[in-house]
Every structure is written in C-alpha cells, then in structure tokens.
Symmetry: C2
Subunit: 342 residues, 2 copies
C-alpha cells in the first residue's frame, strides 16, 4: 500500500512496473531528432479518416492497440484505461477507445495528461486495485490549432513564443507485482506528486511555456522537499513541453530556491524538434508530445540502464479558449512521477 | 484496502465517509420541486461576474468553499480535489479552484463527473492515500447551451427530447476512518463500479437521455452481477440525468435482462424540475444536476435514515461538438457508487 509523506506526495511500496509502451507520431515529429525512436511515423495527418479530429481518435486507437500488442495482452487483461487529451470533451480518448470495452477513468490535465494518468495509475496499482492498466493520451497539430487558436487555412502567422502541438500519441501499460508482464527490465514508479494549480497571470495562449514553467517549478520543488531528494539523484529531470522559453524560466525560478537542475534537465518539447531546421518556433507541445517522448525515448533508455532514475513532470496549460478570449489568465499544472530501474 | 471483485468493481474495506456536502443552484432549479433542499439559490445567472463561463467558475468556487465551511475545514485539510465539469477544458473547475492551493486531480466524464469523482475518491480514501478530499462538479445552462448547441440569443427552438442543462454545483467531502469529520450519521461508500464506454449509435445531441440510458443499464447490470445484489436491496437506484425519455429506455433495457428497477428508480434530471409547470422538455441534465441533487436531497435523507442504501449512477454523454457536427455517434458512460448508512 502506498505511503503518503505529504498531502501531495505518495511513495509506492509495491512494484508498479511500466511493462509495455508504444508511440505513434506524425510526419513533422518523425522528421525530428527523435524520429528513429518512435514505433510508427504516419505521413497521413488524417490517419485514414476524413477529419483531423477523427484522425486523432484513430491515432489514439492505434497507439493503445500497439501498446497491448507489444505487451502481449488484450483489452480483457486491462482493469482500467486512464486517459484524456486536448480535444474538447477529450474526444481523442473517448472516440479512440470506443469499442474496446475497458473500464474507463477519464481525466483532463491538458499537456500534463500522461503524468496524471501515470500518477493515478500508480496509486491504483500500488493499492492492489489494478493488475494491469493503460495510461494514454494524444494530441494533433491541426485539430489543436483550429480548436485553440486559428484554423490552419486562415494562414495566421505564429508568434515567436508559439509552440508546435505535436501530432503524437503515447500509451503505457502499468502492471502490479503479480502479473506475468513484469520483468527485471521494467522501469518502476517509485513516487508521485500531485500538482496544484499555479497561475502567474499569463494571458497569452501563444506563450504556454511561460505559463506552465511556474507549475513545473512548484511541483519539482514539492517533490524534492517531500522526498528529501536532490536534482543530482536523477539522471534526468524531464518536463513535458516548456520549450525554449519555458525552460529558461523554470531554471531561473528553481534557482531562486537554490535548486539547480540545468545540468540534467530535459524537455520533451525541446527534444522532439530541431529548432534550427524545423520551423516550430519555441518547441513542441501537446499532450502527445511528452507521452510519446517518454514511451519512445526515455523508457527504452531505462530498460537498457542508460538512465536509472528520472523525474518525469509533464506540464499542462489548463486554458479555456472561451475564458482566454474573455481576458482570463491561464491556470497551469504539473504532476511528478519518479521512474526508476535498479 | 479495497478488494476487487471484478475488474470494474471494488469493495471498500475501510470507512469512506461522506462527511460534508453542499449545493448551489440557479433560479430555475430553485423554483423546481427540490428548491427548498439546496443550500443556496442564486437569482443571478452571472454569479456577480461578467460572463456565464466566469459565473460557472464562481458558482463552482462558492460551492466548494461552502462544503469546506459546512465541514469546518479549510483547504489545507484536503489531500485532493477531484473535479471536472462540462465546459471545454473543464474551465468551471480549473478556474473555480484556482488559488485554493489543493492538489488537483482533473477528471472528465461529462454529466457522470460526480460519480467518477466519488468512485476515484473512494478508492484513494480506502487505500489510505487520502484523509479528506473534495469531489465536485458544476454546470451552467447558458454556458452549456452556447457551447454544445446554440447561443441563447439565437433563439433556437428546443426539441421535445432536449434536456435542460442545470445551473448547479455540488461538492462532497470524502473522509477516511481516522478523521475527526466522520460521525455515525455520515453515509459511507461501500462499493464502486467503473463504467465502460457504451455507444448505441445515437447521433442527436438533443436526445442525450436516449444516448446515455444504455451506459447506465450496462453499469447497473455489472454492479448487480459483481456484488450479487438485487435492485430490492436499495431504497433508491438513482441515475443522473436520463430525463423522461432516457428513464423509459433504461427500464426497458434492464427488463430484457430480468432486472426490474421501476419500483425504486429515481432520476435526478426528472426530480429537479416539474415538467408540467417548468418548460424544460425532457428534464434536467448537466454535471451539476446529479451532484446538487445528491448533495441536497439524497445524502441529507440518508443522514436522517429515511434512505439507507442507494445505488448512485450519474450518467455522461461524452459527446464532442466537433465530432457530433462531423456526424459521429455519442459515446456514453456511467459509474456506479453504492452509498449506505447503517
């Protein structure tokens, strides 16, 4: 059973193993520096469907099925699917898993969705409530642009601070101690910190890195304080999609509290694109960005013991287009997951 | 620690007490048959703010604060807030709790949100991961109409099958065995069933009762099968917002499986308005409808032992306006929570 060491942080006392993971991305993401790591790269932004939103649901569906295939399991084996995404009403997830007949725990945490799914999934697994569950999310560039900003056909010029919502999906199977899926090569979740809403008053929906950085700083600080760990205990402290601008802010915010993470900080949004070659402005973003980079890049490196401890903190801007247009600020959140392999 | 009796159903083995509950509704809801039961009725659809969406966030905020006040606790006492709502990006919740500094587990389950929040909250409480947490949701008639259907100023004629999204919010404090809040008069959660997505192919966003009824039927059947309980074990089997049309469908669907619930079935959407006097068409709906009716009507009746066992199954239509407009069907879900007092 998990042990709470603060109201936000829980230590896992049983094995919560990440036993299978899959990632599928779009063409632009496949052309980036991590292209070789993803399970599949699709040249078709519609994923064989008629609209971008239907395409995102299909991308979600394919990624979830691929995780099950890689784990050698079928939907019946899964106690729960914990999932959400950026589309209004989490349509990528709900349409993506429609027909799979798996008890569904719908979550919304914007681009920190995969962190929230892993955090909740770890608590349910450690508590014996789940033998195997699937944590998953997705995002889609064209669907997100027209929902959150402008339709692509409008041809709006993106600001220098804008990030590129990745067309990407990541799915991860979490397994308890008694399942056959678990092997000594499976990374495990050791601890989780549930984030609070942090709002520094940013109102610019095209500068999400700046909006989200304070939430990441708050959660990282809480995690380190609660666990008495230091940044050097980790091979990497991984944020979701702060991009170039948000990363600078995060490092400077933590520096004020004498927490230095610049030596081992990695940001999925900065890793996924080559900003010198790809015209993505301030880096990648989107719920699928951190999920796919975790599943494709970090977790396989952990299996090979190239990395042994990472603190994974996807970051979410919980902005509402309606409330943004009404002049409101952007509330943000980040949940932390300590992933380890011995 | 909870005991799983199927992959969807968990039995609570410790006390998970519903120790404080609050409800605030709008004018139309206050004028209905349950008007006297709500903690507060607001004549102002804007709740003192400038827009309906900001008003919904304020309604959410006031309801959450009222639950804490009634329980005699402050935000520091809460391990988590588990919340979501109907607004895009769950803005009612995220803006409504902004500034409260409580670890936040964001969920999306449309009008079944309060069931999902209680289900997850019960699992976290029973597992020792939470001492006190808050489960909450909201909805707002005018904000929902313009988001999901037509702006009110358009003056569109509502169809006979349309339901009236309630302007309402409900918040419930869940407490573990060792907290001072718990008394012998607190109802407790005995078991929960996590719903699956059920999609019978309904595409009419103005006929949600029909879309949701099969999901409620599936979850009620699963709960009864898993627990070996029968409908007569309950003083009431409570659905969220099926309304008149969905209720008929639910009863006939369960009847096919020889499950008779018509004697003790209650629907929050049918209870909240008087259809003969109030022009709401097929009844009330909205995430706040079932949450406010549970908090205002059912739980106080349980405290007084007028009801001893209820099976509470809020129902959600996980429809996306975008995918609905693209001709897709409406996936639905319902989670079941068995609430009891001895």
């Amino acid at each position: 059973m998990s042990r709470k060491i603060s109201r936000a942080t829980a230590i896992m006392e049983n094995r919560v193993a990440l036993t299978a993971f899959s990632s599928i991305v779009g063409k632009e993401e496949g052309a980036g520096p991590l292209g070789q790591y993803f399970d599949e790269v699709s040249d078709d932004a519609y994923f064989g469907k008629e609209t971008w939103e239907q395409g995102e649901a299909e991308l979600f569906h394919k990624t979830v099925k691929l995780a099950m295939k890689k784990g050698g399991i079928n939907p019946d084996t899964l106690d729960y699917i914990v999932a959400g995404d950026l589309l209004n009403q989490c349509a990528g997830s709900t349409y993506g898993i429609n027909g799979l007949d798996i008890p569904y725990i719908g979550i919304y945490s914007a681009c920190s969705t995969i962190s929230e799914a892993l955090m909740l999934g770890a608590m349910l697994t450690d508590s014996g409530l789940s033998k195997n569950l699937l944590a998953a999310t997705s995002s889609h560039f064209a669907a997100a642009e027209r929902q959150f900003r402008f339709p692509l056909h409008y041809g709006g010029v993106r600001t220098p601070t804008a990030q590129w919502t990745c067309t990407a999906s990541g799915a991860i199977v979490l397994s308890g101690a008694e399942t056959l899926l678990d092997t000594p090569d499976s990374p495990v979740i050791k601890a989780v910190t549930t984030g609070k809403i942090v709002d520094y008053g940013v109102t610019d929906a095209s500068n999400m890195g700046a909006a989200m950085a304070p939430a990441a700083a708050d959660t990282i600080k809480t995690f380190l304080n609660d666990t008495k760990m230091s940044p050097t205990d980790f091979d990497a402290i991984v944020t979701g999609d702060l991009g170039g601008i948000g990363t600078k802010l995060l490092i400077s915010l933590l520096d004020k509290d004498n927490i230095q993470i610049s030596d081992n900080h990695k940001d999925c949004g900065s890793l996924i694109f080559d900003e010198n070659i790809q015209d993505v402005h301030a880096g990648g973003s989107g719920a699928g960005c951190s999920a796919a980079v975790l599943a494709a890049y970090f977790l396989p490196k952990m299996k090979k013991r190239e990395l042994k401890n990472i603190l994974f903190c996807a970051t979410g801007a919980l902005m509402s287009t309606t409330l943004s247009q009404q002049g409101n600020t952007i509330p943000c959140i980040s949940h932390a997951v300590h992933i380890s392999i011995s």
